[in-house]
């Protein structure tokens, strides 16, 4: 493929640098939009230096955008400004979602949707997640700008949560929104000790909870499952939050495109484990994300 532009977010995990190597080897990248979060500069120093060396060697043009994880308003405005000058017209865009916060994935998709009809995505699983905590010290959940749904004053709220290994994020969502019902979408399979780690729902017996199993790694399949449930609860206000594998951010965004009544919510964390994951599973997942609402 020609003229491929890569959009990636600088990360401190092994899978960022190993993943970049794979992308540079297997894709014909000519230009890169490198997004970095200033508040994590110190964790990213080594990976950033190596990354810039590699791309310089390959003669790839790099545009850098700096965001700040703790200021979502400025991030939105910064990306808005960047994309107002964005002149890429080909759909040959590859977005490496591996180390992009879910909120930023959604934000990027919003701006890319204005220009492109489809984009390509790639995701690298790690070889292993850290056995300890992954994120800590969560802030209150927040609805994504421009994706905050169309809420009806008379309807109840149903909260869709795609669960992951950060159990406290799950409970903070429920406490914050006080929904009348929660639909929990849990990842199938026992990869990364999923069955043991993905079970943190602090069940309040007074709250109605429905459990649905699905496979986030199958973007189309999980999009369909989510869509069926959205259809089932169309007489409710719906907020979706994705805590599971990053690929679920794509499914949820696709659902948003199909149903602008739903709101997308994100639970930011203040602390990330610097050993969040180890290594990389070279058997990566890639595909095409179509912005059409079908």
């Amino acid at each position: 493929m020609k003229n491929k532009t890569l959009i990636t977010v600088l990360g401190w995990e092994d899978r960022f640098s190993f993943g970049t190597d794979i992308i540079l080897k297997e894709y014909n990248i000519e230009r890169i939009l490198l997004i970095s979060f200033q508040d994590y500069n110190s964790m990213n120093l080594e990976n950033k230096s190596n990354f810039l060396k590699k791309v310089k060697k390959s003669n790839i043009k790099v545009d850098q955008v700096e965001l700040n994880y703790s200021t979502s308003i400025n991030n939105w405005k910064t990306l808005d400004l960047f994309f107002s000058k964005y002149c890429e017209t080909s759909d040959n865009i590859l977005i490496n979602i591996t180390t992009i916060p879910r909120e930023t994935i959604w934000t990027l998709l919003f701006f890319l949707k204005k220009v492109h009809s489809r984009i390509n995505y790639i995701y690298f699983k790690p070889a292993k997640y850290c056995d300890d905590w992954l994120t800590k010290n969560h802030k209150n959940p927040r609805l994504l700008f421009k994706h905050s749904g169309l809420f009806d004053l008379s309807k109840n709220l149903v909260l869709f949560i795609i669960t992951g290994f950060d159990n406290s994020r799950l409970n903070s969502l429920i406490e914050y929104y006080e929904p009348s019902k929660v639909i929990v979408f849990s990842q199938t399979g026992n990869q990364f000790d999923n069955e043991e780690r993905n079970n943190g729902l602090n069940i309040n017996s007074l709250l109605e909870i429905e459990k649905v199993e699905f496979n986030s790694y199958d973007v189309d399949g999980s999009t369909n499952i989510l869509n069926d449930k959205i259809e089932e609860y169309k007489n409710s206000n719906i907020i979706i939050s994705s805590q599971g594998p990053k690929l679920s951010s794509l499914s949820t965004y696709k659902n948003y495109i199909m149903n602008e009544e739903i709101g997308l919510s994100y639970v930011p964390a203040r602390e990330f484990n610097d050993k969040y994951s180890i290594g990389i599973d070279e058997d990566y997942i890639s595909g095409v994300f179509d912005f059409k609402a079908d």
């Binding site: 308003i73 010290n137 421009k146 905050s148 169309l150 809420f151 007074l206 602390e271």
Partner: protein, 570 residues
């Protein structure tokens, strides 16, 4: 059979059911039925929503005890709607525009809640087609909009509002963001004219509209500033505000940067007064609540029969009192007045708890009084354990009717909840917003040291108040010390590890905060959750040493001075 102790959100309970369950506290009546602006402060679970709901029109209308149903029309306006979680207004650079967007959605919600109020209560307003037409025609003129025809008045307005809410959300989410500003609703151009139009209805012509904003701590600061601006309106003939918050430090700033003043713009009602009360006001209230639920469930036993105290616990306490009496007789060979009984009441329980074998299991925490103690004056803390006790007994019992919760089940649930509470403390940095790992560690250190300190107090035979559980922080010498203390205290208050009451020093009149630990933390450590009407001081240095360096809080019996008396401020 359905568990009668369910503590669901009061809004989810039907009006008739709600009237059956609600226990009216007459001390608030004259405030909540008044036309003044009221600020209702109470921690989570203290009954703010129930109180507002009780005085809301649908409940008052359905309540046979209420005589003048149309004098004050209470409109319950919950803040927990995802509409208020929208943040697009933050994308405007101009602060006035931010205010315009926020006010728009607040107004839509107010009018929608007014419509819901009249739709829900199925009230006979003697509405004629002519009156409906006049109101709709006037609103149509004022709001420059058409209203759907062929449906009842309030349904028509509600449908119009839904359409408006939907259209304005679309504008905010789409490219024509700026166009929103020209079409926004304001309190002056929508809510007030709407209320005035309702005066065309004969039954409402003399009514006062009382707008009950619930849980405003869940709203953004701009939302709260706008509501404060409305509170600062001086003319309360047509409407007033009753604002409920769990915020420990509610903001009084208005959207123009001014301040609303207590006594001048609003009257404050503090539901936290139950947290530390010498008399048994909360005890009586709690008994009424349990008793009423037993009666609704046709469980024909007294509260004490339903929640019996364990025989061994009772016996242990009795033995403690006897030992205290023996000691009192030795100490006061020629007793005056109530010296002996005072001594027994002060030391009896302490003797039981302190003389227990350290290797023995914790006491069989049970009985209604114990439940009142562990609730720390918060009604949700009272009902939730009873709910789980009932569930467990139902699962164990073959009988269709539960007429008693055996003491061992009470103990199991109390210990389980105490353990869960300590798990919450352990993971406090994940539990609440804006709590770093470091702050979480300080909170853990402090509460662990507090338990050690309380054990030392309990075992000491020389102090007058061995079961004191509440504390003040004394001798704060620098602003930096105060800042460090506030960070720990405020996070503990937000997560209900602690509760706070303002008290006055009897000798000096100085106001100071009294901290009341959530008493569910004590059973796991075998401590007495009953406590005493007293407090102890922790110096700022000792507090910070405990929190920052995990150092023991020093305990000196002679620090418990008698001139350190406090009195409650209401």
């Amino acid at each position: 059979m359905e568990n009668p102790f369910v503590f669901d959100r009061p809004n989810n309970v039907g009006v008739d059911q709600f009237i059956k369950f609600y226990i009216k506290e007459n001390i608030y009546t004259r405030f909540l039925e008044s036309t003044r602006n009221i600020l209702l402060i109470g921690v989570r679970g203290s009954g703010k929503t129930s109180t507002l709901r009780y005085y809301s029109f649908p409940v008052q209308y359905a309540n046979p005890e209420v005589k003048n149903k149309f004098n004050v029309i209470g409109i319950h306006i919950p803040s927990k709607h995802p509409l208020f979680s929208k943040r697009e207004y933050l994308l405007y650079e101009n602060n006035n525009k931010k205010n315009v967007v926020v006010e728009h959605f607040l107004c839509i919600n107010i009018i929608s809640c007014i419509c819901e109020t009249f739709i829900e209560s199925s009230v006979n307003l003697d509405l004629t087609k002519d009156i409906e037409d006049v109101i709709l025609k006037n609103l149509s003129y004022i709001l420059e909009s058409d209203f759907p025809a062929d449906m009842p008045l309030f349904n028509s307005i509600k449908l119009f509002l839904n359409k408006e809410a939907n259209a304005s959300q679309k504008k905010l989410n789409n490219e024509n963001f700026e166009s929103f500003i020209d079409f926004a609703f304001s309190f002056n151009n929508t809510v007030i004219p709407f209320l005035e139009q309702l005066k065309n209805i004969s039954k409402l012509k003399d009514s006062h509209f009382s707008l009950f904003f619930d849980d405003v701590q869940d709203l953004g600061s701009i939302h709260q500033e706008i509501i404060n601006s409305w509170i600062s309106y001086r003319d309360n003939k047509l409407f007033s505000f009753k604002v409920a918050t769990a915020d420990i430090k509610p903001s009084f700033i208005t959207s123009t940067g001014g301040l609303i003043l207590e006594g001048h713009d609003f009257v404050k009602i503090d539901l936290t007064k139950r947290l530390y009360n010498k008399d048994s006001e909360f005890n009586k209230f709690a008994k009424d609540v349990i008793s009423k639920r037993l009666s609704i469930a046709n469980i024909d036993v007294s509260v004490d029969e339903f929640l019996p105290e364990s025989e061994s616990f009772k016996l242990g306490l009795q033995e403690g009192r006897e030992k205290a009496r023996e000691k009192a007789n030795e100490k006061y060979p020629n007793p005056k007045g109530t010296q002996i009984s005072d001594y027994v009441s002060k030391y009896g329980r302490a003797i039981y708890f302190r003389e227990r074998n350290s290797k023995a299991n914790v006491p069989i925490y049970s009985g209604f009084e114990t439940l009142v103690d562990i609730s720390t004056g918060v009604i949700r803390n009272l009902l939730t354990p009873v709910y789980f006790m009932y569930e467990k007994e139902s699962a164990n019992s073959t009988s269709r009717s539960i007429t008693q919760i055996p003491p061992n089940i009470q103990r199991d649930i109390i210990l389980n909840r105490s353990e869960t509470f300590w798990e919450k403390i352990k993971d406090i940095d994940s539990e609440i917003d804006n709590c770093s790992e470091e702050l979480g560690k300080k909170i853990n250190n402090f509460f662990n040291q507090l338990i050690i300190y309380l054990k030392k107090r309990l075992k000491n035979e020389d102090i007058s108040e061995p079961r004191a559980l509440n504390f003040i922080i004394s001798q704060v010498s620098t602003d930096e010390e105060q800042k460090q203390i506030d960070e720990i205290i405020n996070a503990s208050l937000r997560s209900t590890l602690l509760y706070k009451r303002m008290v006055g020093h009897k000798a000096t009149g100085i106001k100071l905060p009294l901290y009341v630990p959530n008493r569910i933390m004590f059973p796991l450590y075998g401590l007495d959750s009953h406590g005493q009407y007293s407090h102890f001081p922790i110096t700022a240095k000792a507090f910070l040493d405990a929190a920052l360096n995990n150092k023991e809080i020093p305990f000196f019996a002679d620090e418990d001075v008698s001139d350190n008396q406090l009195e409650l401020l209401f």
